[in-house]
């Protein structure tokens, strides 16, 4: 037997030990070789006369961590027929079924992460024992990448633990601990690490059975199944409503999961159930949504996290001290994030005392909460708070490797404040009010100047936009990336040509909504249109969350300006902070759209089709993103990650550029041309795209 990813060994007494060890990979992941090896060992075990059964274990520190995302992403570009996608998706399913019905008991010894297909492999075994370590994640996260479990997971899990719990796990994609898995009935036993193999062997020798419960006659799904049971009928009704209102008809995977489980748990034949699952799974692999989600949120985000653009010549930098300058209200969460990353915090300036105090207070409050919930200790909290110095001696800044300028910084005072610092200190503006040029103007001595933009609360958000000057030195690039890494933020880089990407895209989105209001589109309709596209925040709410006055100043469009002007200056509706904007709020909680909107912006008797509104919202942002890509201000992958993780653009699109890519450039041009005719020149397609479409219809190269 020729095995590539595993070992098949007799360990005495008829016990076969199968050890999975995928070569050249830090973790075991599901490769086509592994799929085939499972089928091979199943056949071998069935005919191995000396074998009483087998234990499957991992030769690495994790068990099996799931699918090969890179390979998965490329499936879409293969443009497989439904039949081909189906039969290829059947391979692992059939291999596991072979193992499950090989006639010999198989125990699974789970020593580490068992996710996705890894957990599905375990579920096909007759016994599962796991190391008692709460850090070991077990789960079926496929819906997070736009897929569903496709190797029996949607069928075995409900048969093990009931439809309700199984569907919950599959829809949420949650990772659960071994103890939780034991409670749910997903695994049979939890043991200490050194007992793992012994327990698996013990079971094999003493209790080993080779038939799954669902292959026995008269098997009933725990908790019931089929619509003959009114409780189950209600459950499906609730689940369907939940999927419809959360996936909003944009993400096919959650619905496919429901269909696979619903239909699969209604049939009696387990083989029929597996076919039902494969149909749903294979359908998803031909849909761009999984490709978009996986490519942007996993592959490309992974690459961004790996800092491929970091100049290797520069030694890694660890930031030990940073100075934060600004005003209370702007500095706190940044300070907390830095302090959490082991950085000593200093501050300076006129109001340094109150700034420092405010930073400390915030950190203290945050730490208290963490202690309460058991996620931190008093000791750790004290150390963290102590890293934020209350002493604001100007001399203490000299050690700072980075100066962070936040909102409210009085830029003219900086030259004096920072006079004594080394010229290689990194000066990072975290506010759009201060550009690299501003800094260079007042602090010509400093060469390493960047924009480092992240939304508050900094400790929570995971993505940072870095603006680099065109002539940024290697040292500067390396240091900005290292600092981001120290704070565990995904860095997305743009050059200092266009304004901050996320702001610009949000601005386009809001302005388009304002144009709609001005043109008599019902506010509720345009809000619902935006929500139905999957945008994280609807545009009028986003507008309300800012200052309407400031926004008016920033708007280019005169109709958009006029709408804002009417609201804030004629009707004193300045935004959420004053509980009055497009919406009425009560202490920040939304009540409803302002009842007089209709009066001031009379709705047109004929409303625009919602599909067109959806196109307008998605396209106007895509066009904005395109300008960053066109002049190489930003790489496509970074723009896409920023679209989803910062701008709240829906993830099924894969980001603003993937939206164009998925539609095909020529269709996108057509769509924009139509929109431009009806709704204005903001939809004019840039010459760049007309050029590009001559050579290719896509933004990303084919993955195969």
């Amino acid at each position: 037997m020729n095995l590539v990813t595993m070992n098949y060994e007799h360990s005495g007494d008829g016990v076969v030990i199968i050890t999975i060890d995928v070569k050249d990979r830090p973790m075991n992941i599901l490769t086509p070789d592994l799929h085939q090896d499972v089928a091979k060992v199943a056949e071998q075990l069935a005919t191995d006369e000396k074998a009483i059964g087998a234990v499957i274990q991992s030769g690495k520190s994790s068990f099996v961590a799931g699918g090969d995302l890179k390979r998965l992403v490329s499936l879409y570009d293969l443009e497989r027929s439904p039949e081909q996608a189906y039969s290829e998706s059947r391979v692992f399913t059939e291999a596991l079924r072979k193992l499950e019905t090989c006639g010999k008991p198989v125990a699974c010894a789970i020593n580490g992460a068992a996710l996705g297909g890894g957990l599905e492999l375990a579920l096909a075994c007759h016994y599962r024992v796991v190391v008692n370590d709460e850090k070991i994640p077990l789960g079926l996260p496929e819906t997070n990448v736009g897929l569903i479990p496709g190797a029996g997971g949607t069928q075995r899990l409900p048969r093990l633990i009931g439809i309700k719990d199984a569907t919950e796990l599959i829809l949420s994609g949650a990772h659960i601990s071994p103890q939780k898995a034991l409670k749910l009935g997903l695994v049979h036993k939890v043991v200490n690490r050194d007992e793992l193999l012994d327990e698996a062997i013990r079971w094999l020798k003493e209790e080993g059975v080779s038939e799954q419960a669902w292959d026995k006659r008269g098997f009933q799904i725990p908790g019931g199944a089929t619509l003959n049971n009114p409780k189950i009928g209600k459950l499906w009704q609730d689940l369907t409503t939940r999927v419809a209102t959360t996936a909003r008809y944009n993400y096919p995977a959650p619905l496919a999961a429901l269909e696979a489980i619903f239909n699969g748990t209604t049939v009696i034949s387990f083989d029929a159930a597996l076919k039902i699952e494969t149909r749903e799974f294979s359908k998803l692999t031909r849909d761009p949504v999984y490709r978009n989600m996986t490519r942007t949120l996993f592959l490309n985000k992974g690459i961004a996290d790996k800092h491929e653009r970091r100049p290797q010549s520069v030694e890694p930098v660890k930031v030990k001290q940073a100075t934060i300058i600004g005003v209370p209200g702007e500095v706190e969460s940044l300070a907390l994030a830095c302090a959490t990353a082991d950085i000593e915090i200093r501050t300076a300036g006129e109001n340094a005392k109150s700034v420092a105090q405010s930073m400390q207070d915030y950190a203290a409050k945050h730490s208290e909460k963490k202690i309460e919930s058991g996620r931190s200790t008093r000791e750790k909290a004290d150390a963290l708070i102590a890293r934020i110095a209350l002493d604001v001696d100007k001399n203490s800044l000299a050690e700072s490797q980075i100066i962070l300028l936040t909102g409210g910084t009085q830029i003219d005072t900086l030259a004096d404040l920072l006079a004594d610092l080394s010229s290689t200190t990194l000066i990072a503006s975290t506010t759009s009010d201060i550009s690299i040029a501003d800094i260079t103007r007042v602090l010509p001595k400093y060469k390493n100047t960047i924009g480092w933009h992240i939304k508050a609360p900094v400790e929570k958000n995971t993505t940072v936009e870095i603006i680099l000057a065109e002539d940024a030195s290697d040292e500067c690039i390396a240091m900005s990336l290292d600092f981001s890494k120290q704070l565990r933020k995904t860095p997305l880089i743009q050059s200092d040509i266009l304004p901050l990407f996320s702001r610009h895209c949000n601005q386009a989105y809001m302005e388009e909504a304002l144009r709609m209001v001005a043109a008599g589109i019902k506010p509720a309709l345009l809000e619902n249109a935006a929500r139905s596209t999957g945008m994280k925040t609807s545009p009028l709410r986003l507008i309300d969350s800012m200052s309407l006055q400031t926004l008016e100043d920033q708007c280019d469009d005169k109709d958009a300006k006029a709408v804002l002007h009417t609201l804030h200056s004629q009707h004193d509706r300045k935004g959420l902070v004053e509980n009055k904007g497009f919406y009425d709020y009560n202490e920040g909680k939304t009540i409803s759209l302002w009842s007089s909107l209709n009066e001031h912006f009379p709705p047109d008797s004929e409303q625009v089709d919602i599909e067109v509104l959806r196109q307008r919202f998605l396209s106007i942002q895509a066009l904005t993103a395109l300008s960053y890509y066109a002049d190489e201000t930003m790489q496509a992958a970074d723009a896409d990650i920023a679209s989803v993780l910062i701008c709240g653009y829906p993830s099924y699109t894969g980001g603003m550029l993937s939206y164009i890519d998925t539609m095909g450039i020529s269709d996108f041009i057509k769509q924009c041309d139509q929109l431009a005719v009806k709704y204005g020149p903001q939809f004019t397609v840039p010459a760049f795209l007309h050029e590009l479409v001559k050579s290719t219809n896509r933004i990303y190269p084919k993955a195969v």
Binding site: P230, G233, T241, A244, Y249, L255, A524, L525, E527, N528
Partner: protein
């Protein structure tokens, strides 16, 4: 084609559809069987001549399942040669049973048929039969399934009917029902249901609240608000995106009540009436069922009414009385608005808001009610219709002879 005539009809009183209801101890097949027995006795019917018993039922499962029309015939000791069947079109099942009975007569494939319906909501709760439309994800998702109460509130929101509009309508329904009972309008067609040893159980509708006031009604909670907040509102809005929110106006007081009951209508051609020495009371002029948007679901009455009028070659002005099932106040308010019907021409003796809506039986019941009323007022024509689950409507036009 032959003409189909209504010879006679009758119904049970409607018992509260809960464990304390007067008819709770009576099985569905027994309710229908007593109705068939009463019909046989009142018309001196030779049941051997009945060529089909078509029974409507809203939840055709369990004791209400498996061709309850035939089961009730057997229980009522109709001739063994009389077949029976069961049909299901949600709330219009009972009217659809009448329509199908009429169709059999009109097409001359039968001379004498009973169209009937039954529902014991206290024993088989509404929604018990589940079904793909509401619970199969692949379908419920596609049609933005929401439950009827949400659809009723959606209609109110789309057409600006206020809570007060609905409550005023409900109050009038109670008043008219009480008036009709007090003046004996229902007496001739409602019989007393008895228990298995012959003791009377119920002879009057049990759900009505003649003493209701507008203030009482105003106090009732909006029953579908929570259900809406749990996701249905969002689903409704994603289908009707010009709405910001759903205005929940329906309560236990302005929605149809949950009740138990049965009704039957005897239908045949002119020759058979002569043969049996029965006097036809009305002719069935036309009937129609339509499909509409399944999410707002309950807007079938207007298109079904228009279609039935067209089939009959009649104008709206040719109809003397309208009888639209009061599933929810907004359904009737919308019909009144769309068809521009004066309130004193519709549901003149109240309806399901006061008396309750035993799903599968209601269609047959209200057809009988309005026929009695035509006779009482000496009028000629009536249009009967109901809104129906999954987005449908069914209508029937009758004309006295």
């Amino acid at each position: 084609m032959s003409d189909a005539y209504i010879y006679n009809h009758l119904r049970t009183p409607r018992g509260k559809g809960r464990p304390s209801g007067a008819l709770h101890s009576v099985s569905a097949v027994e309710l229908l069987s007593q109705t068939l027995i009463q019909l046989r006795e009142r018309t001196q019917l030779d049941t051997g001549l009945v060529e089909d018993v078509i029974a409507g039922c809203g939840s055709p499962i369990g004791e209400q399942g498996s061709a309850i029309g035939r089961s009730a015939c057997l229980k009522a000791e109709y001739a063994l040669t009389t077949p029976g069947q069961q049909i299901h079109r949600f709330c219009s099942s009972g009217l659809e049973a009448v329509n199908l009975a009429a169709a059999k007569v009109m097409s001359k494939q039968c001379d004498l048929v009973i169209g009937c319906g039954v529902e014991s909501m206290s024993r088989i709760p509404i929604g018990s039969s589940g079904g793909a439309w509401s619970s199969d994800p692949s379908l419920a998702h596609k049609i933005h399934f929401v439950s009827q109460g949400i659809s009723a509130d959606l209609i109110a929101t789309l057409h600006d009917f206020s809570r007060e509009d609905a409550d005023l309508y409900a109050l009038e329904s109670q008043r008219r029902t009480a008036h009709a009972w007090d003046n004996g309008y229902f007496d001739q067609s409602v019989f007393t249901v008895v228990d298995s040893i012959g003791q009377p159980l119920l002879s009057r509708d049990e759900h009505m609240r003649a003493d209701t006031s507008l203030e009482d009604l105003a106090k009732l909670p909006a029953v579908f608000e929570k259900m809406g907040a749990d996701g249905f509102d969002e689903q409704a809005i994603s289908k009707y995106p010009e709405l910001e929110k759903i205005n929940h106006i329906h309560t236990a007081g302005n929605s149809s009540g949950i009740v138990d009951g049965a009704a039957a209508v005897l239908i045949g051609d002119a020759d058979t009436a002569k043969k049996l020495d029965l006097k036809p009371r009305a002719r069935i002029r036309s009937f129609a069922s339509v499909g509409t948007d399944p999410t707002v679901m309950l807007t079938g009455p207007t298109p079904s009414a228009r279609k039935a009028l067209e089939k009959a070659g009649m104008q709206q002005a040719d109809i003397d009385l309208f009888e639209l099932n009061e599933a929810f106040a907004s359904v009737v308010l919308l019909f009144i608005q769309e068809m521009n019907i004066p309130h004193d021409k519709i549901n003149v003796n109240g309806g399901s808001i006061a008396m309750g809506h035993p799903i599968g039986a209601t269609g047959a019941m209200i057809l009988g009610t309005v026929l009695d009323e035509l006779e009482r007022q000496n009028l000629g024509t009536a249009l009967i219709n109901l809104c129906v689950g999954a987005g449908m409507g069914t209508a029937t036009i009758i004309e006295r002879v």
